[in-house]
């Protein structure tokens, strides 16, 4: 709803004929890219956990966003409600999240771990609804903003970034590298990969499947919880955010290719950048942020149905 758009952007009919790149401020583009990097880092962290669970149990955990929120709300309880220092609050938040993850895993997913993945998917939907409503009862349906004084770093005169945002980017990068090294170099990591590859054969070889599933859930919830805590610290916290987290991470995983670690990361960043960079175009309204991201998802899936890093279609269908 602009009264006075610069006339050179539009042709005679009022439609955009061409877009002059020079008119797009380079500095502005940098700002958008930075916003995309921050948001993409959050999506990548969430997507990594979702992708990992898919690899081992062959289902998309649609309660993934709620796991992120449990970590975030536990952190919020310790840090803001009880007023404890930052680091112990984060650690305790993760401890609470781990306890909840293990409890939920044994109560819900473990009894049916050998069932069709569809059952697990349905259970995860129910679990997501249950957890969201539990959070609504405990923390009420309102936003919690941590009005912290995060240190602001001025990169140029008009480009700035907060300390929390730098931490978001660094934690995301560390998670990716850490997870890759863990999966490739450690015994448990190799076992997780083996289970992802073929659970029956791995079980025959004597690898404790239950333990591997538990470890996978813990890593997944650690990544989700870290993302949740960072979002709580940088943006805000609301019991309804879970669905937003799940949808964005699910989209990132599909975009990157289901079950692929680098795919999940790439998917997360593409989504983050797409949301923030495309709205730079003057004819794209900012309220179409989400629409633009999902439009890209549709285009990518149209060109490559298995996602950017996905295996062959038959391979996915086989599982």
């Amino acid at each position: 709803m602009r009264k006075n758009d610069p006339p050179h952007l539009y042709g005679e009919g009022g439609f955009l004929l061409c877009y002059n790149m020079t008119s797009m401020d380079f500095e502005l583009l940098t700002k958008y890219a930075l916003n995309g990097l921050i948001q993409g880092s959050i999506y990548a962290m969430l997507a990594l956990g979702l992708s990992l669970i898919y690899g081992v149990l062959r289902f998309a955990n649609l309660a993934h966003g709620e796991y992120a929120l449990i970590g975030a709300y536990a952190f919020y309880t310790f840090h803001v409600i009880l007023g404890w220092p930052l680091i112990p609050s984060i650690l305790l938040g993760i401890v609470v999240l781990f306890a909840v993850t293990i409890a939920l895993q044994y109560l819900t997913f473990m009894p049916v771990k050998n069932a069709h993945p569809f059952i697990l998917l349905v259970i995860s939907i129910a679990l997501g609804i249950f957890l969201k409503n539990l959070l609504l009862i405990i923390f009420q349906a309102r936003s919690r903003l941590i009005t912290n004084e995060s240190v602001i770093y001025q990169i140029t005169e008009s480009i700035s970034i907060t300390q929390t945002q730098i931490i978001i980017i660094l934690v995301a990068i560390a998670s990716m590298i850490g997870l890759t090294v863990f999966l490739k170099k450690t015994k448990i990591g190799k076992a997780i990969r083996a289970v992802s590859d073929n659970r029956e054969v791995t079980a025959v070889l004597g690898i404790p499947i239950n333990r591997i599933i538990t470890v996978t859930f813990l890593i997944s919830s650690l990544l989700a919880g870290a993302a949740g805590i960072l979002v709580a610290y940088d943006q805000n916290l609301h019991p309804n955010l879970g669905a937003f987290f799940t949808i964005k991470s699910f989209a990132a995983v599909i975009l990157g290719g289901i079950g692929s670690v680098p795919g999940a990361v790439l998917g997360g960043y593409i989504l983050g950048f797409a949301e923030n960079i495309f709205i730079a175009l003057p004819f794209v309204e900012t309220n179409y942020k989400d629409a633009v991201a999902f439009f890209i998802l549709i285009i990518v899936l149209y060109i490559k149905p298995t996602g950017l890093f996905g295996g062959k279609t038959e391979e996915i269908a086989r599982h």
Binding site: M1, R2, K3, L28, K31, V112, L145, S160, E275
Partner: protein
């Protein structure tokens, strides 16, 4: 249970859950002819729709307390014509669907003739057609969308339209010589109404960036407006929670243009003004004035504190809220508990002095021009009258 049976059970449960989620929220059942207004057992039940859940509960819940304080006062003094007043609260959630089913519940199940609310414009606009068709008065003490003016004969409000709010802010923006104002608007009827009427009254150009409800990341919107070199930035959310995130991110982005606030943002003392007092210093907005000289004004403030142990927030919303119940009481005492008669009575209300100010209804059920937003400014972390 066999695996295949388990699968069937799961699919069955999913379908049942899915279907049960499709309850007819939009049902608009005309009330049966034989239904009698609710005056049983010497009680008069008045319906209330407020956002009691979600972010808008930050003004919905205080509104509930204020109405209960007013109700207690009315009942203490003998009720309405000797009958005790009872309030039936429904949660409108600041959402169209919820408010629609809330109005239906109140009319069809509770058989009310008058409903106080909604608070959000989305609630009032959703409830208006149902109330109108059933000849039930819908009396909003907080909705300000200009669309409510035309919403129907049975729809009243004692809160001025946003044309007044935006007019006052636009006049200020014009007086400051602003040529280009950026607005960050939540996609809700209230805030969209504010943005639209501001755009009409403001002399310069406007860039309006909208965001969906529940957004938490405004960084790119802020960058876009800052790059457009706006002379001022108009923060136009539906709830204090979004106002707080926008202000936080504006501060982090180091945006240093004059700020304009809608009445949600400037009323958000605990969420915005106090935590970000340094940053919001000098921001200008418009609020509906309240009548500090009224005998009951201090009574309301003391009663609220006694009940909740907190200071009363959003006085410019809570004052009309308090008055509403007394206006309805007077109406019922004059003409009886009947929607149509109360509607006719309300159009005759002229120059009624209340906690919120002097109220006269115009032909659309809106307060007349004497009852308008006044310009406010944030000085030393406090909201004061702007000179």
């Amino acid at each position: 249970m066999k695996k295949s049976n388990l699968l069937k059970l799961a699919i069955g449960l999913t379908i049942i859950t899915g279907l049960s989620a499709c309850a007819p929220v939009f049902e608009d059942v005309e009330k049966p002819e034989d239904s009698q207004p609710q005056v049983k057992n010497e009680k008069i039940v008045v319906g209330v729709i407020l956002p009691l859940s979600g972010n808008a509960a930050s003004y919905g819940t205080p509104s509930q307390y204020v109405l209960e304080i007013a109700k207690a006062k009315i009942n203490e003094k003998g009720g309405i014509g000797g009958k005790q007043l009872e309030l039936a609260f429904e949660d409108g959630g600041c959402e169209t669907e919820k408010a629609n089913s809330a109005v239906n519940n109140l009319i069809n199940l509770k058989k009310v003739q008058v409903i106080v609310g909604g608070f959000c414009s989305s609630e009032t606009l959703a409830g208006a057609p149902v109330a109108e068709r059933n000849k039930v008065v819908l009396f909003s003490p907080g909705s300000s969308s200009p669309k409510i003016t035309e919403a129907g004969d049975y729809i009243f409000r004692n809160y001025p339209s946003d044309n007044a709010q935006s007019g006052a802010i636009a006049e200020y923006a014009n007086s400051q010589g602003f040529k280009n104002v950026g607005i960050i608007t939540e996609e809700q009827p209230y805030s969209e109404g504010v943005a639209d009427s501001f755009t009409k009254s403001f002399g310069g150009s406007v860039i309006n960036e909208k965001y969906p409800v529940d957004s938490t990341d405004f960084k790119s919107q802020i960058d876009k407006l800052a790059a457009a070199k706006v002379d001022a930035l108009f923060v136009n959310p539906q709830t204090p929670a979004s106002a707080a995130i926008i202000v936080k991110q504006l501060k982090e982005k180091g945006v240093k243009v004059p700020l304009l606030f809608n009445d949600v943002a400037i009323g958000a003392i605990n969420e915005v003004i106090t935590p970000f007092s340094d940053y919001v210093e000098g921001a200008v907005g418009a609020e509906v004035p309240y009548n500090k000289d009224h005998a009951e004004f201090n009574e309301l403030i003391t009663a609220y504190k006694a009940r909740t142990n907190e200071d009363i927030p959003y006085l410019s919303y809570m004052s009309p809220m308090y008055d509403t119940l007394f206006i309805i009481k007077e109406a019922i005492e004059k003409v009886g508990y009947d929607g149509t008669k109360i509607k006719d009575y309300l159009y005759t209300v002229q120059g009624r002095v209340g906690v919120a100010g002097t109220l006269s209804f115009d032909e659309n059920g809106d307060p007349d021009k004497s009852y308008r937003h006044a310009l406010k400014k944030i000085v030393d972390g406090k909201v004061v009258d702007a000179k």
